[in-house]
Amino acid sequence: MARRIPSTLLNDDTFRRLCRARDLLASEYQSNLQLEHAAREACLSPFHFHRLFRTAFGQTPHDFVTRIRMDRARHLLARGEMTVTEVCMDVGYSSLGSFSHKFLTLVGQTPSAYQRHIRRTFGYSGPWNIILVPVCFLSAFTAIE
């Protein structure tokens, strides 16, 4: 039967409040929303918010926001309509260096190398969204009329 992971099973009310705070973090990813602000949304002190957030979602609030920013950056870079600098600003970074370093750490390529790679693979007007779908699924489950 299911392995017990009681530490992730916070009571319903706390979990709901954490979800509300996480939604706030997700919607405000472009701004530098302070931890205190998100913690207030969850009716918790910043310390407890940080600790419970990690217990509930397996990552810190900061890591969560960073992941959202990088996902958004990958979308924008793949679309090819914005420069790396424009993407950097759009996802809430003020320093191109910090953005590039974080992108390299999480995605494994610099933003410009990533964009070149996408263009080389799909072309400038390619269906950018396809890159997010594993090719095996795409080819196996495409319906035949």
Binding site: M1, N129, F141
Partner: protein
């Protein structure tokens, strides 16, 4: 070494109905809903407490060859899968909740069909519900 699972699939007969059920009724989070020009729709959801696991709501459809297999899924296969699903042939997973009885009432009020109400088991409290296609799930509050 495999480190983690990022995607798993639940097969569904209709993705629009699936989205309404899994997002609007079960309260899972919509992660991706993108349609390709060729009709392929990549629809994924995640439990709110597990955002790094995406559940693909994959439509059962006549398809090209599967990886490692030359056989194709034909229209009659799709119909057969749908019938098996409705018969309850596919147990699709276990969801965890902090309060099985409370979640049971919430989901029931939203129209989720339960095949078994919350019961005390040696490992916790468990109810069983099914999706509109017949896939069934354990909903467990572990001890």
């Amino acid at each position: 070494m495999i480190q983690r699972m990022s995607h798993s699939a639940i097969f569904v007969m209709d993705q629009e109905v699936a989205r309404e059920f899994y997002v609007d009724k079960l309260g899972l989070e919509l992660k991706m809903d993108q349609s390709m020009p060729n009709g392929f729709r990549w629809l994924t959801v995640s439990p709110k407490g597990q955002p790094d696991l995406e559940i693909i709501l994959m439509k059962v459809a006549p398809s090209h060859t599967m990886p490692g297999n030359t056989a194709r899924v034909q229209q009659q296969d799709v119909q057969a899968i749908g019938e098996l699903m409705q018969k309850g042939a596919f147990g699709a997973g276990v969801f965890q909740t902090a309060d099985c009885r409370k979640t049971y009432e919430e989901l029931k009020a939203k129209g989720v069909e339960f095949v078994s109400p919350p019961k005390d088991q040696f490992y916790g409290v468990e109810a069983v519900f099914k999706d509109p296609f017949g896939n069934w799930f354990s909903m467990t509050q572990p001890k």
